[in-house]
Symmetry: C2
Subunit: 449 residues, 2 copies
């Protein structure tokens, strides 16, 4: 692990004395990822100068790792020639990622400085929906023909100029680009140099369609331990590949999105610190409003029982406890079910097994909580009736909370909605109303109010 802050301070000092050879020596041994981290700690104005002292391929790779603000700043400082040189070194998927984030005038400059073929390929990838396999694929891969020998295939890998791990799985295609088979470099290494692709290739291929949800693609990597997966169109023509590093990024993004949605927010595009305050507010306010208005409903229920708590004011002081406990129980169930659904560990056909399990868990948990609460109430208030009311309310509402908590996400999944929106805050609000209703219904019976 490098200390980006420490190194950036040293570079700042060296820049003051204009000791560029020393800076160059310091940066040369850094990985592109670390160079980008160091750049992130330096003032924006100093980046163009530093960028120009990096070796050509380190410069391009560092550029990919930088945040969009700095990329934009750099692009604006580039001459057309520099811009062209950097983008020629990039992989198409990285270029597309950058283009998607840049303002229109920057995009125009980038496109102006790429050759026609690349420009067409960029436009091709840009037209796929945001969450599709097509949008994360790269079109750089090693394309082989069925009658090539191993020796010829190695020659082709050498001449392809690909410098990522993408070379380890090669694709055998027909002249019309239809995918025939895949072959790994490992297989070729173990084979006779004169053997043909046709005799060695694996024809039982797992591929994805360009429009497949990228989350599903990422899950395939998780399941099959692939390094890359081919992306084909409806006619099984090979259009590109998705690599494991991009699949891993997708998994992390999707996890973040789920977590954020489960806390009643809409996901943001950028990191927390880079997201402006008003965007944060905009992403949080809608659910807050919906939930506040729904909670007014619980308030109305309370209003109906004014007489009850005017007779026994102590009843009011248990409202937070009952509401919270039921909410927490519903929250636990919905969270564990949402996660299980996301990991494909739970399917809709498991519905009754899930409900049965949750009801038993609810019984165990609610009885334990009711007993502890009864002891507390007996010690403090010496009121057996009150202990009974609270205990019965806990048992009923916890069972209800857990049934709702597991049912709503599964129902959402069934209706092809995102189960994550059925998380804690929404369940809590519904469960609150139920627990208040149960509480006062039981209390008015027991105390004969």
């Amino acid at each position: 692990m490098i200390d980006a802050i420490e190194i950036s301070k040293e570079i700042k000092n060296l820049m003051e004395t204009r000791s560029f050879p020393a800076i160059s020596a310091m940066l040369r041994n850094q990985t592109p990822q670390d160079t980008a981290l160091i750049f992130a700690e330096l003032p924006e104005e100093s980046i163009p100068v530093l960028f120009r002292i990096l070796p050509k391929d380190q410069a391009a790779e560092t550029f990919v790792e930088m945040d969009y603000d700095r990329q934009e700043y750099l692009i604006r400082s580039f001459s057309d020639k520099e811009l062209k040189a950097v983008f020629e070194e990039l992989f198409l998927d990285d270029t597309v990622d950058i283009i998607e984030e840049m303002p229109a005038n920057v995009v125009r400059r980038i496109l102006k400085n790429t050759d026609l073929e690349t420009r067409n390929a960029i436009n091709e990838v840009l037209k796929y929906p945001d969450d599709s396999a097509g949008s994360i694929m790269t079109i750089e891969y090693v394309d082989l023909k069925r009658n090539m020998t191993v020796a010829q295939a190695f020659e082709r890998i050498r001449s392809s100029g690909l410098d990522k791990e993408t070379v380890y799985t090669c694709y055998v295609t027909e002249h019309d680009h239809k995918l025939l088979g895949i072959i790994t470099v490992r297989t070729m290494l173990l084979a006779d140099p004169q053997a043909t692709m046709e005799s060695l290739m694996e024809t039982h291929i797992i591929s994805v369609n360009t429009l497949e949800d990228k989350e599903e693609v990422a899950k395939l990597f998780n399941k099959y331990d692939f390094l890359a997966i081919p992306v084909v169109d409806q006619e099984n023509r090979l259009l590109g590949i998705v690599t494991v590093d991009d699949a891993m990024d997708v998994l992390q993004e999707e996890n973040t999105e789920d977590i954020v949605k489960m806390a009643a927010m809409q996901p943001t595009e950028t990191t927390y610190l880079k997201t402006p305050t008003w965007v944060h507010s905009k992403k949080r306010l809608p659910w807050l409003l919906i939930l506040m208005i729904s909670a007014a409903f619980t308030g109305m229920i309370i209003t109906r029982y004014e007489e009850a708590f005017e007779a026994i004011p102590l009843l009011v002081s248990f409202i937070p406890q009952l509401m919270n406990t039921a909410g927490n129980c519903g929250n636990q169930s919905s969270t564990i079910i949402i996660r299980g659904l996301a990991l494909d560990e739970i399917r809709f056909r498991d519905y009754f097994r899930v409900v049965f399990k949750e009801v038993r868990v609810a019984l165990i948990c609610s009885l334990a909580l009711a007993i502890v609460n009864a002891i507390y109430v007996m010690i403090i208030y010496r009121d057996a009736q009150l202990a009974l009311v609270l205990g019965a309310t806990l048992v009923v509402t916890i069972i209800l909370a857990k049934i709702l908590g597991c049912s709503l996400p599964m129902l959402a999944k069934r209706l092809k909605l995102d189960p994550a929106i059925m998380a804690s805050p929404l369940i809590t609000t519904i469960v609150d109303a139920c627990s208040i209703l149960t509480y006062f219904a039981i209390a008015t019976q027991v105390f004969a109010l």
Copy 2:
């Protein structure tokens, strides 16, 4: 995507007529992962028979993908010879994973049927802590010497018999196993066959220590797009490698753990449906108890204000709304900060920037909510004083909730605790007490109670 249920039904029918060649033909084209999924749908008793008709290497790979219950059942049905044959095909990391889940008598049988060298290696890996790099590493990798030529290296890869992607990055070591450099198959393919490892290898290596937290290791894959990372001891001796597929599994596990902890549960070892009811209950009850007892505190605050709500009973009906809204706001902040910390997007040094941002978000959100709420109160109750009390309470408690929501997780991180425990349920409970206190303090002032 295969339909495991459909295929398993067909197999069940074929088994009744004992049509094993037909079953064999059906299974032969399945990936090991899919074969395991199909087996999961079949009755346990039928697995040993089916397992024996699989080709040898498909059998071993399928075994790895099966769930632990079925693995245990199969092992118990194996003769010593079969057991030996299956485990000889496995990679060490997979063997260790299985051993960790099996009961002692099964483990003894497995160990009895492995050779001394493997047994020692298993014991070596088993001694690393559960969450360390050592516990997820594999000891199968291609080990090269500095004076080997490319041609010799390829020969060594061929003879290593490794059949996973682990061959694509090779490791150059000294005779005392000290790690000197790494070299990829791609580099070797592009080089002169007579070039030595020493002249080609990358010596600027990123490696991890055996005791490094496995989550940190997984994050390195995410950052650097590695396919494998070397694991070394304190003396920089190479002990094994972690591969990208295992890193991806770790990321998913850690995400699940965080999500579960954030909903006030302790993580379980197995999937939802495989975890027994009493284990689910045990994992959920502790936090429920703690939070229920803490909520009693909020109840005590309410008791202090009995006179206030006896004078104006309507005050009680806004308790759920205020508690929920403040809780949701705190929940949003803590969730987004916990996730930011987990992704290293937020660090402790950003504390004041974070608080400043949250306060501004809180101001925007709370003012919007206060206005909507005021309109609602004016329409229903035509009571400006009540609207004022509720509005002021919303603004104060939301600011407080958001400050607490971002501060507690960051504080936890600083104290080297897991920020995930500072999530929604705990924050909600604290925020509840604050909102009730604020509400009645403001109400008693405004209504002069």
